[in-house]
């Protein structure tokens, strides 16, 4: 742990802060006086929660619903990304040339393509073919209301199910490429002596990996892994282009119908910050905890 440094305020700091404050004040002044824009912050709240007259209860509205969808996407996307990332990470360090080539191609292909392009390719070409083949749509439409309700809570409503599954796979495959590299680096960071000792004890390749190398690698890669999950929350905005109704999508919708551009996106940004910053704080805690348990 670092020792906390004493904060010392110099005259330079004061000057810089003053300049900054003046700058902010100027922008606020220009925006309120100079910009021809009618502010309506109050209207925003109703997009977070609204009062339902039929049930006489407050219910979540578009923005909050979007945020929940983003959270669901992030959760399942993370799990998929871990699966892809671990498998491909193991491929990357394999002794088999074929596996290494598969792993390498995967990583290079995904990481060198704009996510937007990848999503379009995946959605319009691949899942357009695969989803009907797997019968995802039929499955959800023909299942009982109970099952539909269950999937509505954990993933998506029936009408958006197929698109959401597709979005999930895009996110999982996309972030998986980054996790692959994290896993590979983690495995390669383990000292050679650990391999040699477990080899000498007669453990098989699989056992060496499973009982000696991976547990240690996991400990080391937990912080960068957690950072990647935060990226995933942010990157999930990209699936709005395939009409998955997550936070950014809802932002676009509301903007189109109300034109409260600045207010909407300020709110959307705030909601993203709530999600990512709380994750960051959790990761920070985790790192401190791990550093202590060493």
């Amino acid at each position: 742990m670092y020792r906390k440094k004493k904060t010392k305020i110099t005259s330079l700091d004061i000057i810089l802060l003053s300049v900054l404050l003046i700058g902010v004040a100027f922008v606020v002044y220009r925006v309120t006086v100079g910009l021809n824009y009618k502010w309506n912050w109050g209207a925003m709240l109703q997009y977070i929660v609204r009062y339902d007259k039929e049930t006489h209860r407050y219910v979540s509205n578009l923005l909050l619903q979007g945020m929940f969808t983003t959270l669901r996407l992030s959760f399942w996307g993370t799990i998929l990304a871990i699966l892809f990332g671990t498998l491909m990470g193991l491929f990357r360090v394999s002794t088999s040339l074929f596996k290494r080539m598969v792993g390498r191609s995967y990583v290079e292909l995904i990481r060198n393509m704009p996510p937007l392009v990848f999503i379009f390719i995946f959605y319009f070409f691949i899942s357009d073919q695969i989803m009907p083949l797997m019968g995802v749509d039929d499955f959800i439409r023909s299942s009982s209301p109970g099952v539909q309700n269950f999937f509505d809570i954990i993933l998506a409503s029936p009408e958006l199910f197929s698109a959401t599954v597709s979005a999930l796979f895009s996110l999982g495959i996309f972030e998986g490429a980054y996790i692959t590299e994290i896993v590979r680096a983690g495995i390669q960071s383990i000292e050679r002596g650990q391999w040699e000792a477990s080899y000498g004890l007669g453990l098989s390749k699989y056992q060496q990996m499973r009982y000696v190398i991976l547990p240690q690698a996991l400990q080391r890669i937990l912080p960068p892994l957690a950072g990647q999950f935060i990226s995933l929350i942010k990157d999930s905005a990209i699936v709005s282009v395939i009409s998955v109704q997550e936070l950014s999508f809802q932002g676009t919708q509301i903007m189109a119908s109300t034109y409260y551009t600045i207010e909407i996106w300020t709110f959307v940004a705030a909601l993203y910050l709530i999600m990512t910053l709380s994750c960051s704080l959790a990761v920070e805690r985790l790192e401190v905890h791990m550093a202590r348990s060493r």
Partner: protein, 250 residues
């Protein structure tokens, strides 16, 4: 194995060569044989190939040519042979290489369960006995980084013994230790030798060689320069290079 005549040599090394990718010829037509229950000490300047020789014996390094036979099993490309040999040969490293994420107890139990497929109770019993043998039964539930270097190396010896090897290899097992801890590790090794374990020991500890070794091999540039009893080396070394080396380390 019952019914079969006891094999005279447990390690048979025939003209092995090893060249590293950098072009270093670490072993040159190296041949030697080790009897059952024999304790062989290998000495030599750094870079003489003694560690490489040891690492070839359990397949940690691939040899370029020649043959290695351990207890009748040839060390070749056959995976079964290799696994069998890895089970028969225990190795102790200079830097201990304990598994830092496992407790002392788990370090010693792991291979018994996975490789020897022992039942939990059996493995536990053996581990307790091994820890007594190396003199640290009270450290069972500690993690390696909570132990001193000497204690870690003793755990590493116990871990290697846990797979019930027929041969133990020691690769400069005391070189990374603080001077006051060397004694406790050597003591464990001496006891092992007295119990009749076949041992190949790369070390600079001439006191150990004198006390328990049956044979000392002096290596340089990947070849055996001179071999004989420890007494021979102390009183009557023949080769100039041996004399020079001994004068430097004694």
């Amino acid at each position: 194995m019952q019914g079969q005549p006891e094999r005279e040599y447990i390690i048979e090394v025939e003209k092995i060569n090893k060249t590293f990718s950098g072009g270093v010829h670490a072993l040159v037509d190296f041949s030697t044989k080790v009897r059952k229950r024999e304790v062989v000490v290998v000495i030599g300047p750094s870079g003489s190939g003694k560690s490489t020789f040891l690492r070839c014996l359990n397949g940690l390094e691939e040899i370029d040519s020649g043959s290695i036979v351990i207890d009748g099993i040839p060390l070749d490309d056959n995976k079964k042979h290799r696994l069998e040999i890895r089970k028969e040969v225990g190795m102790v490293f200079q830097l201990f290489n304990l598994f830092p994420h496992l407790t002392v107890f788990e370090n010693i139990t792991l291979a018994q369960r996975l490789v020897r497929k022992k039942k939990k109770e059996e493995a536990m019993e053996m581990t307790v006995n091994l820890l007594k043998k190396v003199g640290i039964p009270e450290k069972a539930n500690n993690f390696p980084n909570q132990l001193s270097g000497g204690q870690q190396q003793r755990v590493a010896i116990a871990r290697a013994l846990a797979i019930m090897p027929k041969v133990m290899l020691f690769d400069e097992a005391t070189s990374a230790l603080d001077p006051e801890m060397i004694g406790e590790v050597l003591e464990v090794m001496k006891n092992l030798a007295r119990e009749g374990m076949t041992m190949v020991v790369v070390t600079h500890e001439m006191g150990f060689a004198r006390e328990v070794s049956d044979r000392v091999i002096f290596m340089d540039f990947g070849r055996i320069v001179e071999e004989g009893t420890a007494e021979h080396f102390f009183t009557n070394p023949q080769e100039e290079r041996t004399k020079l080396f001994l004068s430097q380390i004694l």
